[in-house]
Symmetry: C2
Subunit: 420 residues, 2 copies
Amino acid sequence: MAKKNAFYAQSGGVTAVINASACGVIETARKHKDKIGKVYAGRNGIIGALTEDLIDTSKESDKAIAALRHTPAGAFGSCRYKLKGLEENKAQFERLIEVFKAHNIGYFFYNGGGDSADTCLKVSQLAETMGYPIQAIHVPKTVDNDLPITDNCPGFGSVAKYIAVSIREAGFDVASMCKTSTKIFVLEVMGRHAGWIAAAGGLAAEKESDAPHLILFPEITFDESAFLAKVDDAVKQYGYCAIVVSEGVKNKAGEFLAETGTRDAFGHAQLGGVAPVVAQLIKDKLGYKYHWAVADYLQRAARHIASKTDVDQAYALGKAAVELALKGKNSVMPAITRVSDKPYKWKLGEAPLKDVANKEKFMPRQFITRDGFHITDACRTYLSPLIKGEDYPPYKNGLPDYVKLKNAAAPKKLQDEFSV
Amino acid sequence: MAKKNAFYAQSGGVTAVINASACGVIETARKHKDKIGKVYAGRNGIIGALTEDLIDTSKESDKAIAALRHTPAGAFGSCRYKLKGLEENKAQFERLIEVFKAHNIGYFFYNGGGDSADTCLKVSQLAETMGYPIQAIHVPKTVDNDLPITDNCPGFGSVAKYIAVSIREAGFDVASMCKTSTKIFVLEVMGRHAGWIAAAGGLAAEKESDAPHLILFPEITFDESAFLAKVDDAVKQYGYCAIVVSEGVKNKAGEFLAETGTRDAFGHAQLGGVAPVVAQLIKDKLGYKYHWAVADYLQRAARHIASKTDVDQAYALGKAAVELALKGKNSVMPAITRVSDKPYKWKLGEAPLKDVANKEKFMPRQFITRDGFHITDACRTYLSPLIKGEDYPPYKNGLPDYVKLKNAAAPKKLQDEFSV
């Protein structure tokens, strides 16, 4: 096997542990210098490949690369950019081959979710479709936890832990205040299409009296009167009600609840999130004083409270991707297989990319209680191991000591510019 | 000195470390059983005293009390309730004396902010005004950091750490995404009157290019055009702009910015927070894609990322309050004195309650840069030690193992009810 260089890039929304996968890829590649030359990282995902904006990761020290394991977000820049089909935009693929050839790239590692898996799949077919020999391996990543085949997705476990910890803490707060002040707390979480993250908040409630008392899922059409009755019950029984609401909750008309309530001074919708809408509804109908929070990027960037399971898996998947490449594989994604729930055991397998790309895994209905407002024991059994363990970053001056890489550009070898 | 029982209560908005002060009070009292009998906690602050709803903390194990040190919020319930003056409502004071007498209470420990210090001051005067011998000691607590005399207030350091960590993490996230997606991130933080918490976000920016690039303080009137110019500069220079905004920011007309932008479907103001207003303004005027977060209670309940300095001080102040009582003191508050900045050293002194009650300490103008959008080195020197060190709670099943006390009520001794 002739020695080839590798290309690695990050794609889509970033997570607390995508850099742990980058760390796994680069550290493993460095251990196989006989087969893998340099690892070039795409600056801002696939855009870096198209524009020949390659970061020479060999300029980074072992220590800096090791620090990626505890650093959130995408160290090389990510992108929201999907390659079109070969027929629609052959120029893009010709350009990729040109860049790969110029830099002797034979391995392509793409770190992202379902859309990105589609990009990776298209690259993996370059040998077949355009005669350029490349091995493309996808490294799974998404806080949405919606990739098929893999038991769970790196990035999700840490968001899940953050949300469960946060609603537990806020629940303790409201419980203290509810006698004379706030009785309602609403936490808005990510998940436009699937309720995995909202469900994770449910882990904080080990007893019925614990926060959160209610969860609103995108999978369940919002039923205002049933919801208000449940809220009132909780306040009457426990003195307060803590609610986790997914940004993707819709009403009977199929509209996002977030867009139904708020208008800015000019009448534009979608200024606020769904949390204030739900909180205000409760105030209007039941009269309870509320507080609400929108975690937004804080939830997916919260490396300070990352799940150890998640970090370990993210690293292992990066490592496995390189090992699959060394075994001569193409068009695959390393995937997590759950061996047992208690004790939690997992191993890595592999999935063909054609079965991964553009496919979404939804939350099973049996993970949501019959009334639609909480999670079932089956859901707990699935989710619980994913938030297990802490993996604290080092601190300096009271703050996490995250690494910023030098990200030195590899000298360009091509004359022409390519605009994306 | 005849053996007397003690009363302890929590007041006002809770914090990540107010229970650490409770732990300091109760553990220290338990070490002086010759002088202090039981510690009764007021259920929901002073209301517990007025309604004779006393929690017998002797029913809690040493282990449970020790766990208060790592448990956020108010374990006995807090309240927003201010005693009126003696002239206005003598009945309240007579009732307090009746309850204290019935339960042989000679020590009164009140854990709260400026308003609560006023309550504590009034109780401390009961000996003088109504002939009931009591020693009242205030234990400082407030995330607002606005109590006078004490160098800083327990509860603030942990919020400060949470905000600095969060904006650093979100900054890393946006930096990854800004090439093709989000360019603006706005984090709203607490602080209706003073910008201490917003200022703490500034600690995350160790270089000019670091997040947050801009801070909006309640002390500085919002100047839209200067602000927008700064935002645009940051995006052009760094690719993105991360902003910390205090909920208390006001415009030139003296209105809260939070109330100027949002209207619900019925035209009501104040549905949203200030973060979406600022984000939407940037979108409207500069066209940049944004994300925003409102941390709300998450910030003050975040015991999982508490500052070790803060936890240590909260505990020490609880302990010191009991020791002051044992020395025969009345109408005082233990206070933190800063001995040196680097290395950070502090010790405890005491402050007369009359100098503490109803007085606010504002942020010095020299802590804010001349342009009004960031913190100065003097501010960093002050804030930095307050977020130093981590003090992680224990975890169980991936979640912080916070204690819920039994909170058994002490049998009532009085016949009559008292309504508050």
